[in-house]
């Protein structure tokens, strides 16, 4: 198959035609980085203008004990292994209280698949956080954790999601997608739920009114064709449910994991992944640069390559840093805003559901209407 050229793809975009997988492949491997950026930037700005979202959130990783042994992961520990930890209920609540006091709008809660913590522990934890800090949006538990909790006494994935929703869960993060298609998935995370199951759980969540994100882990053993297939699977589900808010490509951090080329992604890789997502995932409103993995510099430049969301004022990030990410653990709100402004864009703080936040210090309210 002759590869598509950027002018051909530009013509399709101008005509309002949907890009196909051959287009996505050409974009993902384009040498003309500026041309790719121009297409992605135009598309993004038609949709989102000059505004770039960020949010003030806190990550909580309740445990690093995990029965899966994904080969790209430097965070997980076996039960009893040196460095294994599980936070107590009070420790989680103390972190939530701190986040609430500091004016965070969101808790991002993800952790390992612990073999002994029953579903009820999580449900009660969510309920207690929600009761004590009702303004904090709880974005928690990847589809992989939902599947695990179903087997830890929760019954079905649907029941787990229903009970968590009723306890106060606000939405789901997009983690655990890694790379959905086989055979790559089995090579990088053989014990993890299959890609089809990940999509199924997202579909159930969307059906229950829970929104979610979607991620893609790239830069390890996959080919560009695998990435395109991953994007195709996400776009198809989004056509049916509309429940995904943001797409977040995650650059593989090779330093302390036993997988991959050992060197990590290049600047071109990162910008191509984001720009291609903006153009091919036409049914995703938000393309997010996760600066913890990309570094602040690439994240800032990506605001000209289709990105309209910069995550976040992450406090206490553990997962990427265990893998060797060299970015700082947290950026302040001012630093994040300066990063966006220096790029020539307008920073807008959002809540988890992309409503603009009006803030004075640690006090905040949600502006009327959706962004």
């Amino acid at each position: 198959m002759a590869s598509r050229t950027l002018p051909e793809i530009a013509a399709k975009l101008e005509a309002g035609d949907r890009l196909d997988e051959a287009d996505a492949l050409a974009l993902l491997t384009a040498d003309d980085l500026i041309g790719l950026g121009e297409l992605a930037d135009r598309t993004n700005r038609r949709r989102n203008g000059d505004r770039v979202f960020f949010n003030v959130n806190r990550h909580i990783n309740p445990t690093n004990v995990c029965v899966n042994r994904c080969r790209f992961c430097a965070f997980s520990r076996s039960p009893g292994q040196e460095g294994a930890y599980t936070l107590g209920r009070d420790e989680v609540l103390a972190r939530a209280a701190e986040a609430d006091r500091a004016g965070a709008t969101e808790l991002h809660i993800v952790g390992g698949l612990h073999p002994d913590l029953p579903f009820g522990w999580y449900r009660d934890l969510v309920a207690e956080i929600h009761e004590r800090f009702p303004r904090l949006h709880i974005k928690g538990f990847t589809a992989v954790e939902i599947d695990h909790l179903a087997r830890m006494g929760g019954g079905s994935a649907e029941r787990v999601l229903l009970e968590l929703r009723d306890a106060g869960l606000g939405s789901l993060p997009g983690g655990g997608a890694e790379l959905l298609p086989e055979p790559v998935r089995s090579r990088i995370c053989p014990e993890k739920i299959p890609g089809a199951r990940w999509l199924e759980i997202m579909e159930i969540a969307h059906g229950l009114g829970l929104r979610s994100n979607a991620t893609m882990l790239y830069g390890h053993v996959e080919r560009p064709e695998d990435r395109v297939e991953h994007l195709r699977m996400l776009r198809n589900l989004q056509d049916r449910t509309g429940g995904f808010q943001a797409f977040i490509p995650l650059a593989f951090q090779p330093l302390h994991s036993d997988l991959g080329r050992g060197r990590g992604t290049t600047g071109f890789d990162d910008l191509r992944a984001l720009a291609t997502a903006r153009l091919y995932l036409d049914n995703f409103r938000h393309i997010k640069a996760y600066w913890v993995m990309l570094g602040e510099k690439v994240a800032q430049v990506s605001l000209h390559f289709g990105v309209n969301d910069l995550d976040g004022t992450v406090v206490e990030e553990k997962i990427a840093h265990e893998a060797g990410a060299t970015s700082r653990g947290a950026l302040t709100r001012d630093e994040l805003m300066a990063l966006i402004e220096e790029a020539g864009r307008v920073p807008v703080e959002r809540d988890t559901l992309y409503r603009p936040v009006v803030r004075r210090g640690t006090h905040w309210t949600v502006a009327e209407g959706r962004a």
């Binding site: 600047g267 990162d270 570094g295 690439v298 430049v301 605001l303 220096e342």
Partner: protein
């Protein structure tokens, strides 16, 4: 094509969208380097002393003469470092240091002669205009005589450091004891006349205005019109951590978007300087790679050793294999070069 003047350059810097700057700079790069080669040199920076009477406010490397952790390398230590460089296929040694009050011109002549005798294949790319002026002063000679003696002892070319911003108001603010912009230019012009090529640098993101940046580029361009002695231009960003200037003025680190804008503008304005270097030392390897589509055609050196930027706490690492991978991945052909940009080895695309 008509030349970009001051007002157009200012407008580009202030108003042009990032990708438009990149598009124009990439076109200019393509016209100057249609072969698609992206080059690098295998080199080592040797900082023979950190003792410095200049004490620039942006510098985290220098020590005062009375400080206990000041050092001066012996000639044997310098030679041992060059031996290591040669063992890993290096071709360039870049020696710079503080303005030491007691190291005489003869110390350098002697060292350079030893280097040429033992390592005739190594290119000696050393001493910035501030150091050459300092050596002229303490030896009671003219800059021309000093350069001639150094050249006769084995100096091949002069790096473009110490330019910072070539506007005296800025220099008074950030490096009050350093030579002014005219003296910097005079040293470079004299080096060019004596047949020694040089590079030119720019350190931005401190206290300069947009106008200052543009004037810096235009001053380099004007000298280059007369001498054609600059081989390359190398912009980088001020690294404020651990510096007096960073602390006193509360200056934030310049971001990657500003870096790419200034880099692209340099490619557009400096139509007579053949090569433009990306600065992985200050930007990291990812942005240095992206810079190849914003006008840069050279990745600088692999730098077996680098101490000056590292003193601010910024430590990016890059080896030859990674460099080759980055260049290929950006769609270019990697090539190892000499100090004067002759291609030594072309890597497969």
């Amino acid at each position: 094509m008509s030349r970009v003047g001051r007002s157009e350059a200012l407008e580009l810097l202030r108003e042009a969208p990032l990708l438009e700057l990149g598009r124009r700079a990439d076109g200019a790069r393509q016209r100057l380097h249609p072969d698609g080669l992206v080059t690098f040199v295998v080199d080592r920076n040797i900082n023979f002393t950190n003792v410095c009477t200049c004490q620039c406010r942006f510098c985290a490397f220098y020590r005062r003469p009375e400080d206990p952790d000041g050092y001066v390398l012996t000639h044997d230590e310098v030679l041992a470092k060059i031996e290591e460089l040669v063992a890993c296929g290096g071709t360039q040694v870049l020696m710079q240091g503080g303005l030491h009050p007691d190291l005489p011109l003869e110390w350098f002549e002697d060292l350079f002669r030893k280097i040429k005798a033992r390592f005739p294949q190594v290119q000696n790319h050393s001493l910035s205009p501030a150091e050459i002026t300092h050596l002229a002063r303490i030896s009671g000679r003219t800059v021309a005589e000093t350069l001639k003696r150094l050249r006769d002892a084995g100096l091949d070319s002069v790096p473009g450091g110490g330019a910072e911003v070539l506007v005296d108001r800025v220099r008074r603010e950030i490096s009050p004891n350093k030579i002014g912009w005219r003296r910097w230019m005079e040293v470079m012009e004299e080096a060019h006349h004596q047949g020694m090529p040089t590079t030119a640098t720019l350190m931005f993101g401190a206290t300069e205005t947009d106008e200052d940046l543009v004037d810096h580029l235009l001053r380099i361009r004007a000298l280059q019109d007369r001498t054609a002695g600059f081989t390359a231009f190398i912009p980088w960003t001020f690294q404020p951590d651990r510096t007096e200037l960073g602390r006193a003025e509360g200056i934030r680190k310049t971001g990657a978007v500003r870096y790419l804008r200034v880099l692209a503008l340099a490619r557009i304005v400096l139509d007579n300087v053949p090569n433009l270097q990306a600065s992985w030392v200050t930007q990291g390897d990812k942005i240095a790679q992206v810079a190849l589509r914003f006008g840069a055609n050279d990745m600088g050196g692999t730098m077996l050793e680098e101490n000056v930027v590292a003193a601010t706490g910024v430590r990016f690492r890059l080896d030859r294999d990674r460099l080759v991978t980055l260049i290929r991945d950006a769609g270019f052909v990697p090539a190892q070069r000499t100090t004067t940009y002759e291609v030594l080895k072309v890597f497969s695309p």
